[in-house]
Structures are given as structure tokens and as C-alpha cells.
Symmetry: C2
Subunit: 140 residues, 2 copies
DNA sequence: TCAACTGTTACGATGCGTAAATGTGC
DNA sequence: AGCACATTTACGCATCGTAACAGTTG
């Protein structure tokens, strides 16, 4: 699977990518600055050009955000993912990377659970506010 | 209901309060700096002393955080709440404050719903990571 | 008097928003 | 030639974390 080195006709500019994923241009550039993703290539004039792979990568990143991963954690995760997928990497390294991914998966699940609990708390908030808006005097 | 001007024997120091609510000292002080809550009083030496009311107030604030209220929004909400509860406030003002609270309640509910949707997205993440950790090559 | 707690001040990190001035692509 | 889109640089803001150093409490 030589992957054909990416079809140049399907490359997207940053605006298209940002639109599809739902992030701002600023954010996409910032992620690049932080080493989370690099455009596939650039035009001779300097415009960033992205392939589908990077769009997926950004979507992944966007999923990590709401559960509180820092950009540094995301970078580590993505690095591990890259290593785990890299056929040319040493088997030892790939195994280590897969373990890391498994750990991150666990961590992600825990964070989701934690956020769910907080959300439940915050639901009570909406109710409490509605109650107060109707004039509550409960001193409990 | 003169409220007895707060029982001095039950006043808490900032550490106790932070522990109970689950916030750092820094955060509690910062919220005060931003006008979200003031200690009931202070010792002659300058130690902040809080009554139950402020503990509840902090708990309220903590509930607003996970759904993305900014500190400014929280301050507005709390101000409205204070006005709505203030027997000495003008009836017109109190009515306006109650409407505000109702609006915030709606907003809070919407935010909860929105976050719930994002969380669902992030659940897929954990599964995807686990899959990759076992070595996936699925190209969509 | 000592340990634990608290006070203020200030600098730093994160994660972008928001210009401003300029160049690129079609 | 024009107009949308992109580039870099840079300053700003929110929300605390983290010293550092001094004072308070019991």
C-alpha cells in the first residue's frame, strides 16, 4: 500500500479544513505551531494545503478538547498514534506506542465519565435558577 | 426574618471553605477579586471568614463552570440573584432580575445539552483509541 | 514558641481572539 | 485587475498555578 503519495487534486486550503472540522483558522495554525499537525504541503506562495489525513487528525483533536486534554497531552497521544501506525518503526517502539494508546483510551473514558458527573450537577443548576426566578425562599 | 446577622461560631476560614467546595485557595481568592463573592468578614489579623451563604454561593459558581459560563456571566447571574432576593430592592428591579434568572436558566439548560452532545462525540474517541491500540488499519 | 494556616504581590502558562499590514490565487 | 482568501507578527484576555516572603492563629 504505497498510498500514492496523496492525490494533489483533493488538497484543501486552511479555510475549507477549518470549516469542515469546525475550528477557527487561528486555532488550526496554533495547533500546527504546537506540533499537533502539519499541512501536507504548501503552494509556492505559502498557502497551507491539507490532505484528508490531516482533516481526520484535526477531528480527532477536536474530540479530545471537551474532555480536557491539554495540547501537550494531545501531542503525545498523536505521536504515539503515529508510531503505532508507522510500519517502518521498530517493533518495540510500536508495542510501547500501542500501550500508550490503550492508556490514553482508558484516560479518555475516565474523563468522559467525570464530565458526565459534573454535567449532572450542572443540570440541578438550571432547575435551581428557574426556581429562584419564580421566587424561592427555601433557606435549607 | 432578621437572620440574626450570621452566627459567628460557624464562620469558616478559606481553607475549610475551599476543601468543602473543592476549589483551590487561589481560585476562591480570585473569584473574590473578580467580584463574585466576598467573605462575610475578616479576623483582626486579616483572615477571611465565610458563612454558609458564601459556601453555597461558591458551590453555585462551581456548578456554572463546567458548562462554560465566564466569570463575568457568573457575576451578572449572581448579581441578578442578589437583586431578586433583596426585599429592599425596588419591585421593578426585582422583576427584571427574575427574568434575567429565567433567561440564565434557559441558557444553562442549553449549554448542558450542548456539552452532552460533545461528550457523545468524545466517547467515540475512547473506542477509536482502543481500536488503534490493538492495531487497526481501517481507512474508513 | 512552633506548626499550620493565611495574607499579598507578582510572574508564568494555556489557548486561543483579534487586529494590522501584506501577499496569493483564480 | 479585483476580490476573496491566505500569511506572519504581535498584543490582549481569561483563569488560574506557583513561588516568595511575611504575618496570624491557637
Amino acid at each position: 500500500m504505497p498510498d500514492a503519495d496523496v492525490d494533489p487534486s483533493t488538497l484543501l486550503q486552511i479555510g475549507e479544513v477549518a470549516d469542515r472540522v469546525g475550528l477557527s483558522l487561528r486555532t488550526v495554525r496554533y495547533y500546527e505551531e504546537q506540533g499537533l499537525l502539519a499541512p501536507e504541503t504548501r503552494t509556492s506562495g505559502g498557502f497551507r494545503l491539507y490532505a484528508e489525513e490531516q482533516v481526520h487528525r484535526l477531528a480527532l483533536i477536536k474530540q479530545m478538547k471537551p474532555i480536557g486534554f491539554t495540547l501537550q497531552e494531545m501531542r503525545e497521544l498523536l505521536d504515539a498514534r503515529d508510531t503505532a501506525r508507522d510500519d517502518a518503526a521498530a517493533p518495540t517502539a510500536r508495542r510501547a506506542a500501542r500501550r500508550q494508546l490503550a492508556d490514553y483510551a482508558t484516560s479518555a473514558a475516565e474523563r468522559v465519565a467525570k464530565m458526565r458527573r459534573q454535567l449532572e450537577q450542572s443540570e440541578g443548576l438550571a432547575d435551581a435558577l428557574r426556581a429562584e426566578s419564580r421566587g424561592a425562599e427555601r433557606t435549607t
